[in-house]
Symmetry: C2
Subunit: 612 residues, 2 copies
């Protein structure tokens, strides 16, 4: 059986050698709780946990899946124990919860969490959603809400969910029909409606499930602005924090999915028997019928969308580790350049190296992009320097759609390639990569499809606040290129980055012209938005991996070829060169397609697309 392995070294590089973690640990919120010395300890510790505690349940979770009977979900063996282990021992929600004393910088939390996601993505989703729900209560709930809910959500006693999607409202959440009816108590509403695709919506992890539910109060405005947010416990929680009566939340079905089979995706009915109560979060609807439910949910969105991209990255990274490992063990074929030397390990073949380095390059470049995102969010959330915080908030918001969509789309392709590295056995469930392919596919859909993120980029992020954040983002790219354009040994690569930068600059202007002339050019905006997103993501990721390569180059010069880190740094150089020379040129092609503006997809009549 393949053993869990992970690129611990790259995570340490990011925190110890690349990002300015001194700055993060020096922030008021963290300066008394965490320090640089904790990094290696925490990462080493979690690596062991990921390998020894979490990873062993992953395959059996896939094979056995969840059971659904009489409205109850039973998780596969080990899931409840591992969930409790992580939550109780402070390796879960407590480190990511804003109100918690154990709160870590996202950069640090996410570095160790990446290994847990890689070890068992179905499990970590439960933790992630519990954190998300508790953070919503922390930010927008009353003191009382915080008092009776949060502690038990952080210590493994209760889990949490986010309830947005409905059978007839997926990407268009504003079309929700779940209702909230007032009661005598102004903070308590009767909830009635059906939600679907609720991860952990029903599960035997814990004593209670705290659902955060979007619903439209009576008289609420139509669309997303009319939605309120409600805390809807599966079992009512009394004022003193004790459990009361069941709250009329029924699981009416569980999805049978292609992957993530240990993750219970529930269809929930609220108030089937008129007995479901929810606690209003924030203010009631205003006189226009507007509520801030979705806006509150979206407050968590940057982090959780980056988190979704990060989940995809973690799975791709693990598929990489496993396939590289297999390629060193499996002997097959002879070298093209030296067939007489006899049979060799797969990894000696040029094409296997090319496939592996491509997965590695995408993995490390995307990881670099993601951790830049977390770094921006840490500063934005906790810095005392308000100007800097605002600037970084803007940068994080721009990165969010890039990370979410690019990482999840790329992961599907790259895990497919990891199967290819294995050959025939990669297609069997005896080996672990096919499970990652199946598990990862949902990530380009949930938390907003790739297209939604592409529109978020071109429609909102590029244009918000008069374009200032995007201009900042562009000027950071410009500054990097100007600063490094003569960097020794990277002449060709810096030129590629410059080319990609110019392309993105052109695309940005082109899109501004589309918005200025929306009547004529409006259709081009959504038609080419996914390509724009790819260009921005590859430019940023390319720069980030180049930035890392420059550090690696210095280290190699300092440490020499005998140092135990030589292989790592040499790999980083190759990774950056591969990304810049083989992946980044795509930006130029995409830019040409965008400029060419072929509209065959728009002109093609619907009838011509349908085969009946």
């Amino acid at each position: 059986m393949a053993e869990f392995a992970y690129d611990l070294r790259d995570l340490k590089f990011i925190l110890n050698e690349w990002l300015d973690m001194e700055e993060i640990f020096g922030l008021e919120r963290f300066k008394d709780t965490y320090e640089m010395d904790d990094v290696d300890f925490i990462l080493n510790e979690v690596y062991k946990i990921a390998k020894e505690v979490v990873s062993p349940i992953n395959k059996q979770g896939d094979e056995i899946g969840i059971k659904f009977e009489d409205g109850k979900v039973t998780l596969p063996p080990g899931y409840v124990d591992v969930f409790k282990f992580l939550q109780e021992n402070g390796w879960g929600s407590a480190n990511e919860s804003l109100g918690s004393e154990m709160l870590m910088p996202l950069t640090l939390y996410r570095a160790y969490n990446e290994m847990l996601m890689a070890a068992c993505p179905a499990l970590t989703s439960y933790i992630k959603l519990t954190t998300g729900a508790s953070n919503l209560i922390h930010r927008f709930g009353t003191d009382k809400d915080r008092e009776i809910f949060i502690e038990n959500m952080l210590n493994g006693k209760w889990s949490g969910t986010m309830c947005l999607t409905e059978p007839n409202a997926g990407s268009d959440v504003g079309d929700s029909t779940t209702r909230a009816y007032p009661t005598d108590d102004p903070r308590i509403y009767k909830i009635k409606g059906t939600k679907m695709f609720i991860t952990g919506g029903e599960v035997d992890l814990s004593d209670n499930i705290i659902h955060m539910v979007l619903a439209r109060p009576e008289g609420g405005a139509p669309g997303s602005k009319g939605l309120g947010l409600y805390i809807v416990p599966k079992i009512w929680v009394n004022e003193d924090g004790s459990l009361g009566e069941p709250n009329d939340v029924t699981c009416i079905g569980i999805e049978h999915k292609m992957g993530l089979k240990a993750s219970a995706t529930a269809m929930l009915s609220f108030g089937e028997n008129e007995g479901c109560r929810g606690i209003l979060v924030g203010n009631p609807a205003d006189e226009k019928g507007f509520s801030k439910g979705l806006a509150m949910m979206f407050h968590m969105m940057n982090e959780s969308r980056i988190g979704t991209g990060h989940n995809a990255l973690a799975q791709m990274a693990e598929a990489y580790c496993l396939s590289a490992q297999y390629a060193t063990e499996r002997i097959q074929g002879r070298l093209f350049t030296d067939p007489k030397a006899g049979r060799v390990e797969l990894i000696k073949h040029e094409d296997i190296k090319r496939m592996l380095l491509e997965i590695k390059a995408q993995t490390e470049a995307i990881r670099a992009m993601i951790f830049k995102g977390f770094y921006y969010l840490d500063v934005a959330e906790h810095s005392g320097d308000k100007e800097k915080a605002t600037r970084y908030q803007g940068l994080a918001e721009i990165l969010t759609p890039l990370i979410k969509a690019y990482a999840s789309e790329t992961a599907w392709q790259m895990i497919g390639q990891a199967i290819q590295v294995y050959g025939g056995v990669g297609y069997t469930e005896e080996y672990p990569v096919s499970q990652y392919a199946r598990d990862v596919k949902i990530l380009s859909i949930w938390e907003g499809t790739s297209f939604i993120h592409a529109m978020d980029l071109v429609g909102r992020k590029m244009r918000m606040k008069d374009g200032v954040p995007f201009a900042n983002w562009m000027s950071d790219r410009r500054e990097f290129i100007d600063r490094n354009k003569d960097a020794e040994g990277f002449g060709k690569e810096m030129q590629q980055l410059e080319n990609a930068y110019q392309c993105v600059a052109e695309i940005k202007d082109l899109y501004a012209s589309y918005y200025a002339n929306k009547d004529e050019k409006g259709e081009l905006i959504p038609l080419y938005a996914p390509r724009v997103l790819t260009c921005c993501a590859q430019l940023f990721a390319g720069e980030a991996i180049m930035d890392q390569a420059m550090i690696a180059k210095k280290k190699i010069a300092e440490l020499g070829t005998d140092h135990h880190d030589y292989a790592y740094y040499t790999g980083k150089l190759a990774t950056a060169k591969f990304f810049i020379n083989n992946i980044l040129p795509n930006v130029k092609m995409q830019a040409e397609l965008i400029k060419n503006a072929d509209v065959s997809a728009i002109e093609c009549p619907e009838e011509s697309l349908i085969i009946s």
Copy 2:
């Protein structure tokens, strides 16, 4: 539940309006058996069979899978019946078997067979392998072999397999260790060894299984040239054709696969009890220990490799039909360009149309490429004009790797995109596309991995016979462009084709220089071979779909907008324009990468790739 649908119209277009089927039906072998009038009848008939008989077993086959107990495989419900239905009624092997009176041109057989593959790829593999085995016996067996084996393989009584792969010999089949020991009868050998990944290796389809086994006779040369080919029935077949004793062939395991769960992939042990006999096919090893076993198997390879690409195409095409259908039914979101018009069907959104048209464009362009391949093979096999036959044989051999690798790699991406069209429900097994994603992945691996085909292209097909066939292939492309460069309404597209042609011409010269200077440039040959294959495939497919679009344009002018075929032809135009403007430009980028010749993947030390 989604209903099977298929683009019958495009298949009819290919046979009735595009390929010169008059020529094919006029060939000596077919002129008394099939004619143009049969095309629509056969396609209509099989469409009904695919929909009503074959498609209903596909999902349950996936859900239930095969059962393996006490060395026996039990297929899911319906598989045996449908196998027999197709074989007995002449919709299976009989139409593809060289010795059969019912032999159809591949162009015709494959057109209807595409729908059956789309309806249930796990089932059609059994038929395909039975045909392959019976054709080997027809071509290379004795009269006696033909007499006692073939009839029962064509009428559904027996099935067949091809046994190449072994636990330690996959892509490098020449390293096989299965042995053949002489007996007193010079045509009978004792077979001993283990074969794996044998589709249908053990299955309850029929009374007997005829295995075509590669094995090395005692004293045989090492490598692939030492391998002989043997007919190894599961149950011995007596001289009079009756069944004898079991032949010591044991199924020792079945793979648990990501998909194709109703296809039994067996590990077979031959001669565990020294009781396995095989009938030699062809001559015994010569004095150097050389046998022609692999060469005989490879005789079937062009057809079966194109067939594998065709299988991928069929699955992608079905995923397209289903996702397009869903997109017309599902109402979600508002138009970007007209949000006030209310909620609309998915298919009205620009990005959904773009995704659909991309799948459609890849599907139809690849289908066009594949049917050109079958057309070449029909002429090559059956034409009385030997010069033409030779030329077409060369063209088919060039297309073979392009089709096999490009179709299977593209299908994985495009079926992933079909899931994206569905959104969240596409990830559930309630809807059919996720099964296609799982089923299709093996096709880029079996019958030779994509890399093997890339090397077949650059190492063999581009260079065979002093480069004459490839020069013919290039001159056909040149001729098409010259003939159509001023085609009205296609100016931009013809320019794109010209650009792609120039790129391929440059790549060809570059590769010639690598071979001429193999000591220094040798490593670049395998490193960039997959990109070369992609360029050639996209050039050919792009030309083929353009050729079809020009017919469509004429038809539109003739028939007008009210004709019931207007939507089809308009779709064909859009499809071609999309392919040429959005997919074909990739050739230019790939050519630049090839010329740039980055060698980071070669220079990267193995230690830098391994994460332990």
